[in-house]
């Protein structure tokens, strides 16, 4: 369980100005949940994500991953939290440490001293799934923007962390790779063979991605303003636009068709599969 208890984050700059990026958030995310987080630019999404794996710390209030508190004065706890919480960043350039794509994916596993054979299988699986086979001997900085993003995702997924936070990794992906990414999230979500279920948090500006998850949280100026099932929240168009979110076109169309008394019972009737 991920627990936020009245958490506030205030950024202070060199000239002493303060900016409250997270403003008194309390929340529980249970194991096995798949949560989507949306909100305007600057609403606090990335700050929220960074709190979850100890990249930054709350100014007040507490953040816990299972039974471990995320606190700056406990380096051992932070290491443990980074093992449990994997994070794929908005900007992949900051993430790479190795000389080739293949070594980048293996990097985390090598650090854990994993068995060579298992490691090779897992790395091969990631190269295959994220379409990086032909680029495996390239240097990460030589990749195109979309390939870099896929590499960043593969290097985190290969570690199989219990909690996974995606900070808008799909922003520069083409449709095919966006679908592959959503499929990868769904696979993790439905992965029930392990006894500790994965918990997924996907931060996005694409409202239709919320339909893959079972909970949608909307941030506005550092506060949670909506929290509920995506298919319900996405029907609240007038509320959403106030938070700079536009529902998927099918939802906006459904609202208008209902208003004009068209015989529709559910928005599902306006969706062709697949969702994306």
């Amino acid at each position: 369980m991920l627990t936020f208890d009245d958490v506030t984050v205030v950024y202070k700059n060199v000239s002493g100005q303060a900016k409250t990026a997270i403003d008194g958030i309390s929340l529980r995310i249970r194991p096995g949940e798949f949560v989507t987080i949306m909100g305007a630019n600057g609403s606090g999404k990335t700050t929220f994500a960074r709190l979850c794996n100890g990249l930054i710390f709350s100014t007040s209030g507490s953040v816990c991953v299972d039974d471990v508190a995320v606190r700056p004065d406990d380096p051992k706890a932070i290491l443990e939290i980074r093992r449990r919480v994997g994070m794929v960043f908005q900007n992949p350039d900051h993430q790479f440490v190795s000389t080739t794509v293949e070594r980048e994916i293996a990097f985390g596993l090598e650090n854990l001293g994993m068995d060579r054979e298992v490691m090779r299988t897992r790395v091969a699986e990631m190269l295959e799934r994220f379409d990086l086979k032909s680029a495996r001997m390239k240097a990460p900085h030589q990749l195109s923007g979309g390939q870099k993003q896929r590499l960043a995702i593969a290097s985190v997924l290969v570690m199989r962390p219990r909690y996974l936070i995606f900070d808008e990794p799909a922003a520069v992906l083409d449709m095919r790779h966006r679908r592959a990414l959503m499929q990868a999230m769904l696979d993790l979500f439905h992965h029930t063979s392990t006894n500790t279920p994965h918990t997924l948090i996907n931060i996005t500006q694409h409202p239709e991605e919320a339909l893959f998850s079972n909970r949608l949280i909307i941030l506005h100026q550092g506060k949670i303003v909506l929290d509920g099932p995506p298919e319900k929240l996405l029907l609240q168009e007038d509320t959403l636009v106030r938070f700079d979110i536009r529902p998927p076109v099918e939802f906006s169309a459904f609202i208008r068709l209902k208003k004009n008394k068209f015989p529709l019972t559910s928005v599902d009737e306006l969706f062709l599969s697949p969702i994306l």
């Binding site: 950024y11 630019n41 600057g42 896929r150 169309a253 306006l270």
Partner: protein, 284 residues
């Protein structure tokens, strides 16, 4: 201004600069700087490289790039003058932001062009407004204090402030919220109304369908197709592995199948929703 590629080849040099690049494999085309163009293709198809070649940031191995007939890598050509006329907004705003504060960063380009301080001032505030950033909050902020979407907006503002005759955008809406997206659409419409063209490399087909009149499709560094926007639907059928109908287009055909008579003029989301708003209520 006319930009022409003649059989351009470019191979990424492993020891070269650490810019994201792919291969360009014999590309020829010609564009007028008043045209509005969408550059599309899968990740790694060469869109970013092509934009960098246009501004002379990368040099072709073979072939020629000319602007109004002059080879941009010719001995007497002034590349810096070209770069003040063609503005490139990078895919990663980090490659572009380097001044300590937001307003200084945006002012950097126009100042470099030697423009009067008063004019620079005016350009900075109108550029901030165009990208939807409140000057009172953002002008004095350090670029290290920005969220990703805020950074992208500042990067776009910095190029806008130089008032280039032609603009190149690499994924301008990636990571932007809905209002940011609307600001980008308005910026593109404004450029077009001022007789200034642009090339937008993007996967955001809705944005392109609203803002460009011509599509150029790349695949593995080759030019695969070049067609007017009116033929987008046809090309989705011809090149299904690269182009596909938008969610809005799919919904329109589904609604037509349900017997709702949506006219052919309805192509964008806004147009569709306006049409549905005014649809006569069905009688019981």
């Amino acid at each position: 201004m006319r930009i022409t590629f003649q059989d351009v080849f470019y191979t990424y040099n492993i020891t070269g600069p650490a810019l994201p690049s792919a291969h360009i494999d014999g590309v020829s085309f010609s564009v007028d700087s008043r045209e509005t163009i969408g550059l599309v293709g899968a990740n790694g198809a060469g869109k970013t490289t092509l934009l960098q070649l246009i501004t002379g940031l990368e040099k072709p191995d073979r072939g020629q790039i000319t602007v109004d007939g002059a080879d941009i890598h010719g001995p007497d050509y002034e590349l810096s003058a070209l770069r003040s006329r063609i503005g490139l907004v990078f895919q990663s705003p980090e490659f572009q932001l380097f001044e300590p504060t937001v307003s200084e960063d945006i002012a950097f380009g126009p100042r470099n062009l030697g423009w009067a301080e008063e004019r620079v001032h005016r350009l900075v505030s109108s550029a901030l407004q165009a990208v939807g950033l409140d000057a009172a909050i953002f002008a004095g902020k350090s670029i290290y204090e920005l969220s990703e979407g805020e950074k992208r907006r500042v990067a776009i503002a910095g190029i806008l402030a130089m008032e280039p005759a032609f603009m190149l955008f690499d994924e301008p809406t990636a990571g932007l919220d809905d209002s940011g997206r609307q600001h980008i659409t308005a910026i593109l419409h404004g450029q077009k109304a001022a007789g200034k063209g642009y090339i937008v490399a993007s996967h955001d087909m809705e944005l392109l369908l609203e803002t460009v009149s011509r599509f150029i499709v790349l695949e593995n560094g080759r030019l695969l197709a070049d067609f007017p926007t009116g033929e987008f639907a046809q090309y989705c059928e011809k090149l299904p592995h690269i182009l596909e109908p938008t969610r809005c287009m799919r919904l329109v055909s589904l609604l037509r199948d349900k017997g709702i008579p949506i006219p052919d003029t309805v192509r964008t989301r806004d147009a569709l929703l306006d049409f549905l708003d005014d649809l006569t209520p069905q009688k019981k």
